[in-house]
Amino acid sequence: MERLSPSARSDRYGSRINRTQSPLRASIVPYASILIASLLPLFLLADVMPLVPPLGFLLFLSWRIMRPGLLPMWVGVPLGAFDDLFSGQPFGSAILLWSLTMIAFEAIETRFPWRGFWQDWFTAGLAIVLYVLLAMAVSGAALTTHQLIAAVPQVLLSVLLYPIISRMVAWLDRFRLSRSRRIG
């Protein structure tokens, strides 16, 4: 009898024999990760200027870019509402901006169906810069030059953090689809 290579009966999500993906895990992981990322910046004390990247938005963006169609188009409403509860922005700002992001990315994707890492980073970077500026515009305070200067480190950090966040999301996606449930 010929010996099969050990990896022949498995794919990147694990062994295909006797194992299947867990539907619960597959549907919960993206949302849970975005919600936790929205909540995390609350626990850091930034009294001088906004230094922490908008983690919730970064994860939301990464999931949208990595798995087009996984998040439904209207998902900006519930996820944005949760983000608004903790972000200190007036309620409704993230609902508006996240919904607009979904529409913009859907439109960009129909226009440029083929894309790679650099283009993704460029699009995400542009989205992050616009998001921070627009969030500042609807924060309820008058825009000043000092505020714009104070936002530069946050924007730079967020844009540079995107590749790392998207690798984390890729890891979460493998975890999401790993064959964990035993059949029979």
Partner: protein, 296 residues
């Protein structure tokens, strides 16, 4: 990576409708967001209950992270303290000896103070704080500067009460829920605080700039009397803060005042205390329209 072919609608009516519905729902969501945003601007306190309930839930985690933050601050300070420990030690010893002498003098003054006060029949005016709590979090991603306090309505905190650390003013309570409250920090660009120079009666407004510094705007324009290094304390105007609490130190002079740095940095303070409104009636009467009479 190209999108899945299943996401292309092609000639399928059903798929075309679902794409259309997706866009429609997202656009409706954006509209709803814009509407909620408009309500938030019109009635800033409209969603405070919702936000307060959410912060109440997250508050216990914040207590833990606040304790960890204080701990890590201490570790960092300890490491920093080893740098040039010898010369620092000598300087500190000298300072302690001087301080002992000053302390003795202060005790004498205190005694005399008490004697004079008893002659005048003044009562002790030390303010009892409403509660003492930790800052459990902040709006660290937003351009606004809010902090969240681990004490709320159940501890007697009310809207408008000043919050201070042992060093000086931190901010003012903006929203209260059961076990947490939201604080407008002095560095927020919407925060204005009446101050005066500690050495004389030069009055000014300390406004947050949104980048961690305060703008000192003099009320009496003319020759700018300020010097770099001047300490500003609360003046008591407006009735929220009691006078004489340290606020900021001038670091730069400008034609109409100056730029100042905070004395009490919230991230460096372990516990903060919430104090009662200094002149509750004054605040109340300022909030009452002219047409209405104040009830006695």
């Amino acid at each position: 990576m190209a999108p899945n072919s299943s996401r292309r609608s092609g000639h399928s009516r059903r798929a075309q409708y679902s794409v259309f519905t997706g866009y429609l729902l997202a656009a409706l969501g954006a509209l709803a967001g814009a509407g909620l945003l408009a309500i938030s601007f019109w009635q800033p306190s409209a969603f405070s209950d919702l936000r307060g309930a959410a912060t109440d839930v997250a508050q216990p985690v914040g207590e833990g992270s606040a304790a960890a933050r204080t701990g890590s601050n201490n570790v960092w300070d300890t490491i920093k303290a080893y740098y040039r420990a010898g010369s620092k030690n000598a300087a500190l010893q000298e300072e302690v000896e001087l301080a002992r002498i000053r302390l003795a003098e202060a005790e004498a003054l205190e005694q005399e103070n008490a004697r004079l006060k008893s002659l005048l029949g003044l009562s002790e005016s030390e303010v009892e704080p409403v509660t003492v709590a930790r800052l459990v979090g902040s709006s660290s991603t937003s351009s606004r500067r809010f902090a969240y306090l681990g004490a709320g309505r159940s501890d007697g905190v009310e809207i408008g009460m000043p919050v201070r650390s042992p060093r000086g003013v931190v901010g003012r309570v903006l929203e209260v829920s059961r076990n947490s409250s939201r604080i407008l920090l002095l560095t927020d660009s919407e925060s204005v605080l009446p101050v005066r120079r500690s050495s004389d009666e030069t009055v000014a407004f300390a406004e947050g700039r949104g980048d961690g510094l305060l703008k000192i705007r003099l009320i009496n324009l003319g020759l700018n009397p300020l010097e770099v290094g001047d300490l500003f304390v609360t003046s008591g105007a407006g009735g929220y803060y009691r006078p004489g609490v340290a606020v900021a130190i001038l670091s730069e002079k400008t034609p109409d005042g100056g730029v100042a740095r905070l004395v009490a940095e919230p991230s460096a303070s372990d516990y903060v205390s919430v104090e009662p409104l200094w002149q509750g009636e004054a605040v109340e009467s300022a909030a009452t329209p002219v047409e209405l009479e104040l009830d006695e």
